[in-house]
Amino acid sequence: MSYVPHTDADRREMLAAIGVRSVEELFAVVPESVRFPELRLPEPLSEAEVMEELRALADSNADLDHLACFLGAGAYRHYIPSVVQHVIGRSEFYTAYTPYQPEISQGTLQTIFEYQSMICGLTGMEVSNASHYDGATAMAEAVIMAMSVARGKRRKAIVAPTVHPQYRQVVRTYTQGMGVRVVGDEDLTADLSRLADLIDGDTACVIVQVPDFLGGLESPATLSALAEATHRAGALFVVSVDPISLGLLKPPSEYGADIVVGEGQSLGLPPSFGGPYLGFFACREEYVRRMAGRLVGETVDSQGRRGYVLTLATREQHIRRERATSNICTNEALCALAASVYLAALGPRGLRQVAELCYHRSHYAARRIAELPGFAVLDSRPFFKEFVVRCPAPVEEINDELLEWDILGGYDLGRDYPHLAGHMLLCVTELNSRAQIDDLVMALRIIGEGGGE
């Protein structure tokens, strides 16, 4: 099954029109010694058979439809309204490509324009691009943009130790050839005030995550002070933010952000084992010509009707080549559409409700868990939907036992933060009902008492 429509008669007619006797002749230019290799692949399957095989693979996973999920750490389970799938399932959207021809791409272009508007509305920033691969790559591109704003004269990026560990790795991978020093997370126990001491004239940007990887919220005053120190040194303040939290919490524009990035998976995308996700990227208008990625702008057509086009393309690789702001081409357009539909479906009030549910339910869970013997909740700071629990046994063991209860436990922080070995990062969203939380608490109590063996 190749999904090719040609009959042998078609092929014969076409070969005659070309003036060759066989298809093989068209490949005469391929070195003969390596031409037409055998491919050792499994025998082809019918549609029914392939779906059976895939279902068997999928069913051998333990999935979140069958587990109560308290795992977050950068990928979240939030409710996805039905309309999201129905809209992104329109093949007029999903079988188009990048809207290079605006006259027949107004659907894609207008949805991107609306997406850009919503990301600005959510973050309080002035401009947003059309998307990045994920939150981590959006952060790496923010560093590159900050270097570009400093015209290559600043070579240091300061990153808080409480930024997602994988995001910090991605920043380092991206900048390894650029002569950038990524500093600030050598001491994983350092707090934000120590970051300020690192800021100097060589600093291109300072990056924080809000709420941070451990779920906590510094005060807006602390963040504003760090932003001011950053600005005094002529550097940019980059904030990675949970978009769901912005239904309730102050946007980064209010505490001095120059660039706001984040993972948009929470906005209508399933966890899907890590991708495809959606990196959002918004910044102050003055930096727009140094942004990476696609941008859609409003204009008019030959008859004065409003329309949308890809714009400011002189930043981009297909025009500017080695002088482009980034190499990004294919991004995550359909994921951005899902996020737009999600945000439009919820609106400001719906998003606030989701955020409040996350807040109240996670605090309820934290209060209950704090009462358990052997467990402690580190709650010196306010948190939004994730919090750190000190456990009476290795996290991996507790999680194994929780699985017996059909519960997916939290993230083992010892994997990235040695001083937090034995600590679990738990996540509670609007999809964790009180009953689920009570079950978790009961399971933890029994496990903590050693009754789970």
Binding site: M1, S2, Y3, V4, H6, M14, I18, V23, E25, V29, F36, L41, L45, M51, L54, L57, A62, D63, L64, L71, V87, F93, Y94, A96, Y97, E103, I104, Q110, T111, E114, Q166, V170, Y174, M178, G179, L217, S219, P271, S272, G275, P276, G297, S302, R305, R306, V309, Q317, E322, N327, C329, T330, N331, L334, V341, A345, H360, H363, N399, S433, R434
Partner: protein
């Protein structure tokens, strides 16, 4: 025909989503953190939302509507079963940080896909992590750089790139902190060997070559190019953008490439989503495997599960699958493991086609392109006249209608209900029209395209104003791109703003 912005449909108090009530005692909100102004988002009912997006979708053109010969983008028809496969809850509802024991199905699928891609390309190892073609290119260049650094050779800073290359090649090179050296093409569309020789020295990290190249031509000197680059100590990077011409035709590793990215969304069939998501795995020779971006998936013998006696052959139940970090990895390129949803589609596609189907796909992609080229070169200038691979490049100008440009031809094609080819790329062809029909188009659809192109050539002579003003039948006419760039309006603002 235009559609209001969703913000213009907004009325305070509307909502298209009903959420559960709080069933826990409320916690005190941190007052210093609570936002005073609600985020500026639209408020719409569900029916208004659905109609808005359905109307917008109707302003779009996709492969499911008609012919989409956008060169270099491989806009083939994508089987619907792929969409069903990736949405199976067992895949879509798995969390990337679950323990490996609970996601053996995902890991096995990734492992098999790595193996299939290795087999198709001839490479020894594959990482599925990059999220798009350009991301895979970036990975590949970092791998080449790491290889030389690992040998203690830090004097190499240059990447050779032909003038016909995609813009992502030089852009990825710059992002890697390396220098681009552009090479000329010769009169037959190959890499100019003299120019290559002139630039080969111990400053060269390697060469990036798209083969078939963006003219749709298989480089006639490929073996010599690879020999020369390797002889200078450089590595050969293959831009896999055009792999759709080569499945079962030739393995890039056997053609002399050391590294290559795949565009899963193009060759292995994921709908392009209006600009993503894609997936850009990178394959390498054994020598480079330890530099791959991690994690990758490895298969290990599961001592607990395996009940084989001595001499028994292990079966699938004897193994388990694990995430593993290559020893000298360039590092992580994104959070987690890549665009898993796209991997499921590619896996599905390869399983359904098998070796024979993949070769058939490549053969018909090349047949279709040659058929169009043979018919259209009668009317439109063909700068490089030799058998092409899966695409070819015409000049969108006509000797007897000098005021007509490629853009006019493209815009007029829309009035015939077709998506235009890629315009003005590659840069080495004047008024380029880059045409990639793909294998999924029937002879009838190719003939309809030829008919349209021939009629447009006729119109160019007899009614040039029809082309200059085109398109005439689309929801909007030609848009003022200069105005969009000069006075950027990049988001909706409230009227009072």
């Amino acid at each position: 025909m235009t559609e209001k912005l969703i913000y213009e449909l907004s009325r305070p108090g509307r909502c298209a989503c009903f959420l559960p009530k709080t069933d826990v005692p409320p916690a005190e909100l941190p007052s210093e953190w609570v936002r005073e102004e609600a985020p500026l988002l639209p408020e719409v009912s569900e029916v208004d939302l659905v109609r808005h997006y359905v109307r917008l979708s109707q302003l779009n053109y996709g492969v499911d509507i008609g012919f989409y010969p956008l060169g270099s983008c491989t806009m083939k028809y994508n089987p619907k079963v792929n969409e069903e496969a990736c949405r199976l809850p067992g895949f879509a509802q798995t969390h990337p940080l679950q323990s490996e024991d609970t996601v053996q199905g995902n890991l096995r699928l990734m492992y098999e896909l790595q193996s299939y891609l290795a087999e198709i390309s001839g490479f020894a190892a594959v990482s599925l992590q990059p999220a798009a073609g350009a991301h895979g290119e970036f990975a590949g260049i970092l791998i080449m750089r790491a290889y030389h650094h690992d040998r203690g050779d830090t004097g190499r800073t240059r990447i050779l790139i032909p003038d016909s290359a995609h813009g992502t090649n030089p852009a990825s090179t710059t992002m890697s902190g390396l220098e681009v050296v552009q090479l000329k093409s010769d009169a037959r569309g190959n890499v100019d060997l003299d120019d290559l020789r002139a630039h080969l020295d111990d400053r060269v990290i390697g060469m990036m070559l798209t083969n078939p190249n963006t003219l749709g031509l298989f480089d006639e000197h490929l073996e010599e190019v690879a020999r020369l680059v390797h002889g200078a100590g450089g590595l050969m990077y293959g831009d896999g953008a055009n792999l759709n011409a080569l499945m079962g035709i030739a393995k890039p590793a056997e053609l002399g490439f050391d590294v290559m990215h795949f565009n899963l969304h193009k060759t292995f069939s994921t709908p392009h989503g209006g600009g993503g998501p894609g997936s850009g795995p990178v394959g390498v020779t054994a020598e480079l495997a330890r530099f791959l971006p991690g994690p990758i998936v490895v298969r290990v013998l599961d001592e607990e599960a395996c009940t084989c006696g001595p001499g028994d052959e292990h079966d699938e139940f004897c193994y388990r699958y694990e995430l593993s970090e290559p020893a000298s990895s360039i590092g992580r390129l994104k959070a987690f493991y890549g665009n898993f949803g796209v991997m499921v589609r590619a896996y599905t596609y390869i399983r359904m086609l098998g070796a024979k189907g993949l070769r058939q796909a490549s053969e018909d992609a090349v047949l279709n392109a040659n058929y169009l080229q043979a018919r259209l070169k009668q009317v439109y200038p063909l700068p490089y006249d030799r058998p092409c691979m899966h695409e070819f490049v015409l000049e969108g100008r006509l000797p007897d209608a000098p005021e007509i440009r490629a853009l006019d031809v493209s815009k007029r094609l829309m009035d015939y209900g077709m998506h235009p080819p890629t315009n003005y790329f590659p840069l080495i062809v004047h008024e380029a029209l880059m045409i990639e029909p793909t294998e999924t188009e029937s002879k009838e659809s190719l003939d309809a395209f030829v008919d349209a192109m021939l009629r447009i050539a006729e119109e160019a002579r007899t009614q040039p104003e029809l082309l200059h003003g085109a398109p005439h039948t689309t929801p909007v006419g030609r848009l003022d791109e200069v105005r969009a760039a000069r006075e950027p309006r990049l988001r909706w603002r409230p009227p009072a703003d």
